[in-house]
């Protein structure tokens, strides 16, 4: 009997969250993604000197973050999922930082 109650308690621990995102939130995210796409194109039409590339990267990163948080429901997911998501981008960062620590410094002269 005690065993059963423990099992039932355990069941409630894993109950699905069933968070249903309201329709307006999905439409708002879609609208933001569309605006971001237009902004990317418009920004590339202007000569912003060294800022063209960082701005394009920034807009793409914001768009990707919106997709991950709202379309992929990470904002309502478990902490373990957060760890994996953030971890994957940390590893991507390691890939880029270590590679460019090599390539971007090859022309540097020490002597």
């Amino acid at each position: 009997m005690a065993d059963i109650s423990v099992t039932e308690h355990h069941h409630s621990d894993h109950a699905p969250t069933h968070h249903v995102t309201p329709l307006w939130q999905y439409l708002l995210v879609f609208f933001a993604l569309a605006v971001g796409t237009v902004l990317t194109v418009v920004a590339s039409r202007f000569d912003l000197g060294m800022w063209n590339t960082p701005i394009a990267l920034f807009i793409a990163t914001v768009k990707a973050t919106l997709v991950i948080l709202f379309f992929m429901h990470v904002i309502h997911s478990t902490r373990l999922t957060w760890v994996v998501v953030i971890g994957s981008f940390l590893w991507l960062g390691v890939l880029f930082v270590l590679t460019f620590a090599d390539y971007l410094t090859r022309s540097w002269s020490l002597y």
């Binding site: 699905p16 069933h18 999905y26 796409t37 194109v41 912003l48 063209n52 793409a60 373990l80 994957s88």
Partner: protein
């Protein structure tokens, strides 16, 4: 003796959901495990595309002029249209998950069909672009490719095109796999497999589809919209 114990054992457990795997305690735990597992897979996908992107950036830093010239040879209008098409397909995919959460069988089917439709439009536009590139001889290894304005840049433009076909090709393969999965999911949704208790597969399908969308969100500015340092190529 053994018969009675079996009977008693069977009585302890209420009849469970037909899609609950025996190694999970309940659908909630199963849902969490599938989401986590899919994200583990997406981690490998992020690093897979990340490797190609990293190589692309090394050469972009080495040959900035050629990269800007080559990107200006792309049809950015087609790229922009495809970006919007893919974002719409992501919206319909998210709405398919929502419909399955709410137990709307037909809503799920319709949204999955729309997702497949917009995915198909994307691949159609991409195919048209590929045919134009081949017609113009704008692909790596093409003997006909010459760059009249600046012949010295021709080999580097070909290198850009090698990245272009690798990146968009890998992306398109992911789209084709996604389209195949969608066909299977439309059949399952039509059969009534999904509902408020069991929508994890639709959610997982969504994670895959949105990931492919994210890859394109980066590919579009990287391959179509490089502003040249000189400023003469808008």
């Amino acid at each position: 003796m053994s018969d009675t114990t079996l009977h008693a054992h069977a009585d302890e457990h209420p009849p469970h959901h037909p899609f609950l795997q025996h190694h999970f305690e309940d659908l909630g735990q199963q849902h969490e495990a599938s989401t986590l597992g899919m994200w583990m897979f997406l981690t490998t996908e992020i690093l897979f595309f990340g490797g190609v992107l990293c190589a692309y950036w090394i050469y972009r830093v080495m040959y900035p002029a050629a990269w800007a010239e080559a990107a200006s040879l792309q049809n950015w209008q087609m790229g922009a249209i495809n970006t919007i098409v893919l974002i719409i397909s992501s919206l319909t995919m998210a709405l398919a998950v929502r419909a399955s959460q709410l137990g709307q069988r037909m809503g799920t089917v319709v949204m999955l069909v729309l997702t497949l439709l917009f995915g198909g439009i994307f691949l159609g536009v991409k195919g048209y672009e590929y045919s134009v590139h081949f017609h113009e001889g704008l692909f790596p290894g093409a003997q006909t490719f010459t760059w009249h304005e600046n012949p010295a840049l021709a080999p580097q433009v070909q290198l850009f095109m090698a990245f272009y076909f690798t990146m968009t090709g890998l992306h398109a393969i992911h789209m084709v796999i996604g389209a195949g999965l969608l066909l299977w999911f439309i059949r399952r949704a039509w059969r009534g497999d999904f509902g408020p208790e069991y929508y994890a597969p639709v959610e997982i399908m969504g994670l895959y589809w949105h990931f492919v969308d994210i890859v394109w969100i980066f590919l579009f500015p990287f391959l179509y919209l490089i502003h040249s340092a000189g400023g003469h190529h808008g």
